[in-house]
């Protein structure tokens, strides 16, 4: 049955009606907050941190890749810029990684806008290819230079962060729990921003421009400009994850923070979960991250990259049967259950 026929009643919905649709997200948050109390194993916590990290990355990516209707495949570049900026600043100048995180964020924003200026006029695959080319170019560049002006990058050997001083100010902890809560807070922030954007003029303009650019322009929307705004927010947020990643692993090199695999995995999670929705990236990360971790643990030596093969297969199935991602059937089921329980309450 079609969703629209069921809801073709009162167009004036009360403003509070968005609330039940938020309930699952709040429930998820409550569970996420409680998880470290039960999960004591460092390995599992590590896997969960990566899950949240990818949910965060994909949520950030979704602002452009989901709402603006383009397919950026070079977001690893921003992860790399974030990781390198905060690490270089803290190693060479003793700047707190928290400050470096913000500096990296702005640097990524600048770079993101510079990439967006020429590429947002491209359509479909050309845009995707341009972003891949940029991110790969940046990675190859970093791999081949030891010094960028006064900054020591160390080429392919990367940078190690000696755990000399622990604590919140230095963004360095002996246990995994603080990292878990930091990335969870970042994710909540990113989801909050996405939610606010989706209900704002910017969100409407992005969606319109992504779906029918010519019509959007005729309605007063400078499509290229709203995409740039989305790109600025998205690259800023993505960059913060780079700093987090550097402080979490205490070792970064071009392959670990700028590789194409990161960009692809983000896109896989988004496409399978459902791009352009708030729940999609979360759902996608929840489903795909365990696959990628367990395939790495069990087949890391024999079949490296197996997870990407699995993702590819799943993606084909999802695109065939649920082109708007797995969030759609689930949202529909949830809405139906909600309607049914409301109906039962009325009768009872």
């Amino acid at each position: 049955m079609n969703a629209s026929t069921a809801t073709a009643t009162s167009p004036l919905r009360p403003p509070g009606s968005a609330w039940p649709s938020r309930a699952p997200l709040l429930l998820l948050l409550a569970v996420a907050l409680a998880v470290p109390l039960f999960v004591r194993s460092a390995t599992y916590l590590h896997i969960l941190i990566l899950l949240l990290l990818y949910a965060y990355l994909t949520t950030s990516w979704n602002l452009v890749g989901g709402f603006a209707g383009v397919l950026p495949l070079g977001h690893a570049a921003f992860v790399g810029i974030g990781a390198y900026t905060s690490t270089v600043l803290s190693l060479q100048y003793g700047v707190s990684p928290w400050v470096g995180m913000i500096v990296g964020g702005f640097l990524s924003t600048l770079v993101g806008v510079l990439i967006g200026l020429p590429t947002f006029k491209m359509r479909g695959a050309y845009f995707a290819l341009a972003t891949i080319a940029f991110a790969e170019g940046l990675r190859v560049m970093v791999e081949n230079i030891d010094r960028l002006g006064p900054f020591l990058l160390n080429g392919p050997r990367g940078l190690q962060i000696p755990p000399l001083e622990l604590g919140f100010g230095r963004f360095m902890f002996a246990e995994k729990e603080p990292y878990y809560y930091i990335i969870l807070a970042m994710l909540v922030l990113a989801v909050g921003i996405t939610w606010a954007v989706s209900r704002s003029k910017l969100g409407y303009c992005l969606a319109a421009g992504g779906e029918e650019p010519e019509a959007a322009q005729s309605l007063g929307i400078n499509v290229a400009r709203v995409k740039l705004v989305a790109m600025a927010i998205s690259s800023f947020l993505t960059s913060l994850a780079g700093t987090f990643w550097a402080q979490f692993t205490l070792y970064i090199h071009p392959k670990s923070v700028m590789s194409l695999d990161i960009s692809f995995e983000i896109a896989f999670i988004a496409l399978i979960g459902g791009r352009g929705s708030i729940a999609g990236p979360l759902l996608g990360a929840l489903l795909l991250r365990p696959v990628s971790d367990f395939s790495r643990i069990h087949f890391g030596d024999t079949l490296p990259g197996l997870h990407l093969v699995i993702f590819g297969g799943v993606l084909i199935l999802v695109m065939l049967y649920q082109p708007r991602g797995l969030q759609e059937p689930l949202t529909r089921l949830y809405r139906r259950a909600l309607a049914r329980s409301a109906g039962m309450r009325e009768r009872g």
């Binding site: 079609n2 629209s4 167009p11 003029k201 409407y204 029918e212 322009q217 309605l219």
Partner: protein, 241 residues
């Protein structure tokens, strides 16, 4: 007051002269029809006015300001709305969402934009389909949605590109009524239309385009009697009728 002036507007695509030295004035509050055979250059002319591409030569003036070469989104903000011949709804979204996008041209707050969008939907009798997905609308409603969306931007001038094509006779009558009602509210219309019954009934003046040239302009009755128009477009039967 003259709202829109076109002075010797030409548009060439390589060697093809789609529109050649077209001049026309549209007064505020008027409904001006543009007719002509397929490929005469009507949509090209509309696209020049709406800023999709600049004219090759000539001047377009709106409310006393030169507008040729301006971008569509600027023109929309200046008060020119348009619909597309091949409708372009935001298909995955609801009707209300579609119109709200237009309403955001006049406000930045979602609540206000949705309220205004609902008002526009009510004006076009689409309010009971507000929550329907645009993809599921029948063609008549899609055409209405095009108008509603453009209307939500509060235009002074509305360019309608064949909003009646594909409609049944009763739907055409409804659309004519809708456009008349909107004109009462102060909106000026410049419309391309092939359904003669509707153009003749609606327009204060009609311009006829043939191979890029304006071959006639005048009141509907004059156009219906014009020899060249009958030959080029209406056909002998229409003149006899």
């Amino acid at each position: 007051m003259t709202l829109l002036e076109l002075h010797r507007v030409s548009k060439h695509f390589g060697g093809i002269r789609a529109v050649e030295e077209f001049s026309l004035e549209v007064q505020a509050g008027e409904i001006v029809g543009l007719i002509g055979p397929n490929g005469a250059g009507k949509s090209t002319l509309f696209n020049c006015v709406a800023g999709v591409f600049p004219p090759t030569s000539g001047e377009i003036v709106f409310q006393g300001r030169r507008i040729d070469g301006r971008k569509p989104w600027d023109l929309c903000r200046m008060g020119i709305g348009r619909t597309f011949q091949i409708v372009k709804p935001f298909a995955s979204r609801t009707v209300l969402y579609n119109v709200t996008v237009g309403a955001f041209a006049v406000t930045s707050r979602l609540g206000e934009a949705e309220r205004w969008a609902l008002e526009v939907l009510r004006l076009l009798r689409l309010e009971d389909k507000a929550d329907m997905r645009a993809a599921n609308l029948a063609i008549a409603d899609r055409k209405r949605l095009e108008i509603a969306r453009a209307l939500a931007t509060r235009p002074r001038l509305l360019l309608l590109d064949e909003v009646m094509a594909g409609l049944r006779p009763t739907e055409v009558d409804e659309m004519v009524a809708v456009i008349r009602r909107l004109r009462e509210s102060g909106i000026t219309f410049f419309l391309i239309e092939h359904i003669m019954r509707a153009v003749m009934a609606l327009s204060d003046r009609i311009a006829v385009l043939h191979f890029g040239h304006k071959i006639a302009e005048g009141a509907p009755q004059e156009i219906a009697r014009d020899e060249r128009v009958i030959k080029a477009y209406l056909g002998e039967d229409y003149g006899a009728a």
